[in-house]
């Protein structure tokens, strides 16, 4: 009897350590993005929203592990890195999909998003990418300014909650702009999409500073884009995929 209890405890601990996501700290101080995004907003966004997605993703994964009606294939998937789980999330049975898609997507999106930001430049115009990434943007959109215009328009016009993304399309290998609703991410639709840049246009991402003025948030977003990090994603993405 004791052996089975110990074995069960051991299994639970192993399951927890395999699946437990951790809330990563911001790569900068909470006040680092002032005045574009206030410390107050960053504390809420990171310590409340991102934290909730972390906890709820862990809960969702744990639920799968202890669910006796969940098959082995599903339990194996639940042990994989979150990114791999998200590749298949749209194919999951309905009762598991909602929580994982929303919270797992939320975790993944926010982890990426906060890394894509840095201390603001004085103006949007002076914050630009360089090198291969800039060339790729110019090739796909005509000019960097045109890209920024299109990205901004898509962000302003997104109805409801969601994200706007710049990514390398898995099929065409071109740089594309697209949006997702709620906490969806392009990798849920094709695991080989290489996400480069995203903007959170959920109201919580800007309301404490900009209230309803989403376009003002977007105008200022360009001051805080961490182009070196985005360029890194581009380099990694194009190197991994030799055919890009």
């Amino acid at each position: 009897m004791l052996t089975s209890v110990v074995l069960l405890a051991f299994t639970v601990i192993c399951v927890q350590s395999q699946t437990a996501l951790v809330l990563p700290p911001l790569p900068y101080a909470y006040s680092a993005l002032e005045p574009v995004l206030s410390e107050h907003l960053m504390r809420l966004h990171h310590d409340k929203h991102f934290d909730t997605y972390t906890k709820k993703t862990n809960e969702a994964l744990k639920t799968i592990m202890v669910d006796t009606s969940a098959n082995e294939q599903l339990k194996e998937l639940a042990k994989k890195p979150l990114e791999e789980i998200l590749h298949d999330v749209l194919h999951l049975p309905e009762q598991y999909q909602f929580a994982l898609r929303h919270n797992g997507g939320g975790y993944y999106n926010h982890k990426l998003f906060f890394s894509m930001l840095k201390a603001p430049t004085a103006t949007a115009a002076e914050n630009k990418p360089t090198g291969a990434l800039l060339e790729a943007i110019e090739k796909s959109f005509g000019s960097f300014d045109k890209f920024r215009e299109l990205f901004s328009a898509a962000s302003v016009n997104l109805f409801g909650s969601g994200w706007v993304w710049l990514y390398i399309d898995a099929q065409t290998h071109k740089l594309v702009l697209n949006f997702t609703a709620n906490q969806d991410n392009p990798i849920m639709f094709d695991k080989n999409h290489v996400v480069l840049l995203g903007i959170d246009v959920w109201e919580h991402a800007y309301y404490p500073v900009y209230e309803n003025r989403r376009s003002e948030y977007i105008d200022n977003f360009w001051r805080i884009v961490n182009w070196p990090f985005v360029a890194q994603l581009y380099t990694e993405g194009t190197t991994k995929r030799a055919d890009l």
């Binding site: 909730t52 299109l150 409801g160 209230e211 376009s215």
Partner: protein, 218 residues
């Protein structure tokens, strides 16, 4: 994931149209009247900015739609439909919302025909509140929680809609009481704790108005 086929202009600029059909209704109370449940700051932004923008953008979209219709430009008409759905829905939803809220009253519960119907369809008022609350808190992203009336089956039902999809057009249910769970409806006061906002809003529910809507729906 929907591909952006044609991007709309940078903002739908609220233009004054000669044939402006829709207007922003006044609130039936002062901006501060729903304190402490919903702050005056939120009510002002919600009414003067968010609802007003839906009204303006609806008028712009409708005018463009009418122009396109006059020219038999079906492509443009179809292209404009999401904007009409979103802004029209926003206008409908918020117009109802202001009506079904009222300054806080002690012991606020429905009475008469609505109370009887709630008891019949949910077992008790508290059970209905639990169901509507859970549904509203559970909306992913932006949307609304509703108590609606199913005219065919002559019963009340809890439903949710995403974004600004209006209840009747989307589900066929007639709206009796609704809760806006877009973040703009509560964020400045309740931050990320939507559940606290939803719990509190029942203290300012205008059950008299809801009963009126119910009588009309039947």
């Amino acid at each position: 994931m929907q591909t952006i086929i044609k991007l709309a202009p940078r903002t739908l600029v609220p233009a004054l149209s000669r044939c402006s059909k829709h207007t922003l209704p006044d609130l039936p109370y002062d901006y501060n009247a729903l304190e402490p449940i919903i702050s005056g700051e939120i009510m002002k932004l919600h009414h003067q900015k968010h609802h007003a923008t839906y009204v303006n953008n609806l008028n712009v979209a409708e005018e463009k739609y009418n122009d396109a219709k006059a020219k038999n430009d079906l492509n443009t008409m179809i292209h404009l439909q999401p904007a009409i759905r979103f802004n029209g829905g926003g206008h409908l939803n918020h117009s109802i919302f202001w009506q079904v809220l009222c300054p806080k009253e002690g012991g606020n519960q429905p009475s008469g025909a609505l109370a009887d119907q709630i008891k019949k369809d949910f077992g008790s008022f508290d059970k209905m509140v639990t169901q509507l609350s859970n549904a509203s808190v559970g909306v992913q992203g932006s949307g609304w929680g509703w108590l609606g009336f199913n005219k065919q089956e002559q019963r009340l039902q809890v439903a949710t809609c995403s974004n600004q999809d209006p209840l009747q057009a989307t589900t066929g249910l007639l709206p009796i009481f609704g809760i806006d769970v877009w973040e703009h409806a509560y964020y400045l006061q309740y931050k990320n704790v939507r559940a606290d906002y939803v719990k509190a809003i029942f203290q300012i529910a205008n059950w008299k108005k809801a009963d009126e809507l119910f009588q009309k729906a039947k």
